[in-house]
Symmetry: C2
Amino acid sequence: MKTRITELLGIRYPIFLSGMSWISVPMMVAAVSNAGGLGILATGPMDPEETRKAIREIRSLTDKPFGCNATLLMPGAMANAKVLLQEQVPVINFALGKGDWLVREAHKYGGKVFATVVNARHARRAQDYGADGVIATGNEAAAHGEAVTTMVLVPSLADVLDIPVVAAGGIADGRGLAAALALGAEGVAMGTRFMTTRESPLHRNYKALSIQMGVTDTLYSKRFDGIWCRVLKTEAAEKALKRRIDLLAAFVNSRDVARQMKMPYGKLLIGILASGWGNAMKMANMANGFKAFQLATEEGDLNRGLLPVGQATGLIHDEPTVAELVERIVAEARQAREGLAARLD
Amino acid sequence: MKTRITELLGIRYPIFLSGMSWISVPMMVAAVSNAGGLGILATGPMDPEETRKAIREIRSLTDKPFGCNATLLMPGAMANAKVLLQEQVPVINFALGKGDWLVREAHKYGGKVFATVVNARHARRAQDYGADGVIATGNEAAAHGEAVTTMVLVPSLADVLDIPVVAAGGIADGRGLAAALALGAEGVAMGTRFMTTRESPLHRNYKALSIQMGVTDTLYSKRFDGIWCRVLKTEAAEKALKRRIDLLAAFVNSRDVARQMKMPYGKLLIGILASGWGNAMKMANMANGFKAFQLATEEGDLNRGLLPVGQATGLIHDEPTVAELVERIVAEARQAREGLAARLD
């Protein structure tokens, strides 16, 4: 295949693995890059040393381009992002913050930078400070999409940007890839679909649920981690919808986060409280969400876990290997192209 | 073009005009059918005699196939639907109710029946009792979509149905048409895009707003007419979001509805109250929504009016004639096909 994304990054297929915490680990990243796509490492749950180790592990598993994400809103993201620059990772994908300095530094060694965006304002700003592309997250996506859906967001961004758009949200097969390209995207990012593959470390309890559940089986709310977030509709998620924020749990969970990031907890807590009540509540929500996501992903906990998934979970019916999946998607997209050609004559 | 929809209905392009109250009037219906698509008359605001007159007017303006809708939840819908059968309209598009009897009666004279659906359960049921196709309404659509977006709803329905799927929601140009076909649809229905055409009777105040506003400028809530409904984000709509239901207004507005339908009001009111408090509140909400939609559409009232629009309103930048628009969409879809062909090689 040949799109602006395959050309820009030197990859075979314009298919990204979204950087999903506890899922987009080195083995998954390498599997997607080796299959011809672009794996993106999730650095959210890691401290700088773990991030460095993970990047080196990816490099031991593949000689293909890969990416790493940087969720700038999260505590510790800055320190991790600096490691990405030191290690000169080929692609950096930042979200929830301003990545102008990342663009500046990455361009020095020839790295490419993608901004994850949900609207034209953020996308234009990223283009203005030199980002190489955007990942446009539609409402149907796992976790943090906003109101605008892929069907509308992608063409609206393609209309106003010069840099290429990668579509995220609602894509699980070759029909979705073909549709995204028709809408003006130059590639796709998939999270939910890659989550249920042989190589994915997602706990088998949730792989089984992802295969069983339908397109209506997600919930979308600010109650899960403080910002608009889509998760699998389990009993635990329905309970979380009704619950008010549990500050005691947030206290315990934020200590977990600090420990995971190897940050001094006192400093973290003071920093958060000093940033104002609104921000502290946001961080409390995030800490609880973070813990619930980890319990689902790693431990398969059906009572306290929450799994971010997109509506595309309803389009998933099997657990192929990453390589099988990528080849199948490309074949299906070509089939969709033939169907389209015949029908549009 | 040639899809299962063009073959089934004997039309040139698989492009439907959605049946929008006060907009999909005979002249608009005929314009879309004459341009090669399928116009669908909105019967919601009419009594049986007006419906009959409108159908005859369409027949005086075009010899092409056309459709009429029947929103079965609305008071008076049954009486109107019987007129559609008597007049043997080529296509009946029903929504918000069970249309098995419509299918049975329409098939007697060779009419085709499409069910508007938002999920697989309704779609399968419609297929089981003989509907000829479904119109799948995604979350991004004007008015009454549910949570699942076009990108996901269309392939999920195409996977489980034998009858063809028409995609509605998020489509305003040829990229959208090509994408919908790639996803497995056999055609598209457009409301928001057709609303802003030369022939459309939408008040110029709202045509101007539709052209100006962006993809994020819609609101989606149950507050507008009692069920999930997407409208243009105006000050009036933001106020409506915060307001509790106004029962006095509902009383006045429901009298308007009754007058418009030429239904005896006392009987209507008793029927509604007898159906229980929940249903009465739903009807009260609907009466208020109905009035606000009419004020926007016909009178251009920016203070009290509400205009149902889809997110695709942000993709609209001009006011072409219906014929120009249809030809442009087909040309753009063919262009998207060429782009896709080159990129998927």
